[in-house]
Amino acid sequence: MRKYSVFALAREALRAHKGWEQQWTSPEPKAEYDVIIVGAGGHGLATAYYLAKEHGITNVAVLEKGWLGGGNTGRNTTIIRSNYLYDESAGIYEHAVKLWEGLSQDLNYNVMYSARGVMMLAHNIHDVQVFKRHIHANRLNGIDNEWLTPEQVKEFCPPINLSADARYPIIGAALQRRGGTARHDAVAWGYARAAADRGVHIIQNCEVTGIRRAPNGAVIGVDTNRGPINAKKVGVVAAGHTSVIMNMAGVRMPLESYPLQALVSEPVKPLIPCVIMSNTVHAYISQSDKGEMVIGAGTDQYTSYSQTGGLHIINHTLDAICEMFPVLTRLKMLRSWGGIVDVTPDRSPILAKTPVPGLYVNCGWGTGGFKATPGSGNVFAHTIARDEPHRINAPFTIERFTTGRLIDEAAAAAVAH
């Protein structure tokens, strides 16, 4: 792989850009690999990358039924933050933010991580109390988070409506300055390029249809629409389809798959300088570098695999956005879409070994997995390589739903789900 640099850019500028090589190859699947990762989204590709980089396991295939990064990696609203309440969550999300900070250099790929700040608005006394509790908990864990008065909110984000006549007036906010956004497609592409460079096979249009097991129950490979592929270790990183894949190995999961929608406006000049989230009116918004307002909604109420949701959900979100930013009321929306998110009962992920030897699962990221991509891949690669969890993901087991030791961000997370 030729390194991207300013010299490469200058060289290609003089050669009419004819010398750029393919970012990753599309090899035919081999008969056997050391590790198979099911799902070539950000988390799966990151897992393969760290397997190769940190654990020296390069005989790896990443199988993808569609196209690379075409699931939730390409459908989220790209928000990055680590201001979670519980120590376990703080550990994994902060691990991710630390990796985000050096990711472009590490991958030699511009993932456009932009620490523009994530500001969570408080509209009532309950919000104030909850956010201040979060701020204290975060700071105890070494995570930056600070309280802003309404005047400081206005200073940080000038277009916001501070009027006391608003249906839900803004009476303060919690701000994580290291939070921000990154270019979601570039994250998948960057990990794919760096992983492929280390020998990982990325095989698209290859759907897993079964998990093959030895008489003693251990995993020996997978069946796919391109024939069987052997591997003694299989990592399932299939987001909304995790229940379907795990069912092939007879493992039932504490997951339900819901549609989650997002939408973008027409591009306009720079207006919103940070990420704004509001729990109470339930909306979040940021502006992409292209100028589009990127707006996220809540999940639909019913489980579905349809990758589409009801119009009333995004309508409700836009009501909230227009309340907070009256200046946006005449903006045209360009497109909306849905992704299928796998939600656990406590709204925390599962990154763990399973009851089936050789089968590992990384799922349950629900409505907020993008921010964790590097950290998730990093500790999941450790789990697969060493056959034991990393200190950071050790609490994120499936068994916690039996023992009762939940990581209950369902009630604690700073956003509604």
């Binding site: 229940s243 504490p254 997951l255 489980t303």
Partner: protein, 122 residues
């Protein structure tokens, strides 16, 4: 937005009148004290979450207020039937109108997937 038929009100109403209540036919054990931790976890947290036909509970919260069950295809979001809370689980095989054998239907490894509703006629 889904259009949902309430089996009590016997009419189709917009989804906004209803609250989804998750997987249907989950039965709480008569004595949870005697139940193993694994069985209780299975009841409380572990779900089928099928890609295909699923049994689910709804409540007509802004209507008659009653719970009922439905069979819905989680890929097309199409309802196959709704039935009252005390009625038995319908036989899914009888609800599916199997399309005549075609190239498309042989393509799917049916045995490994939850059954699907018939595709909407064009």
């Amino acid at each position: 937005m889904l259009l949902i038929k309430c089996p009590y009100c016997e009419e189709e109403r917009p989804e906004l009148e209803f609250r989804n209540a998750g997987e249907a036919h989950l039965v709480r054990a008569a004595s949870i004290v005697e139940q193993s931790d694994d069985d209780f976890a299975a009841f409380l947290y572990f779900r089928q979450n099928p890609k295909g036909l699923q049994f689910e509970r709804w409540r007509h919260i802004h209507g008659c207020g009653r719970f009922f069950n439905a069979v819905r295809d989680s890929v097309s979001d199409k309802f196959l039937t709704v039935y009252k809370a005390d009625e038995p689980r319908p036989n899914v095989e009888q609800l599916i109108v199997r399309p005549a054998a075609s190239a498309e239907s042989t393509e799917e490894p049916d045995a490994k997937r939850a059954p699907r509703a018939k595709k909407a006629e064009v």
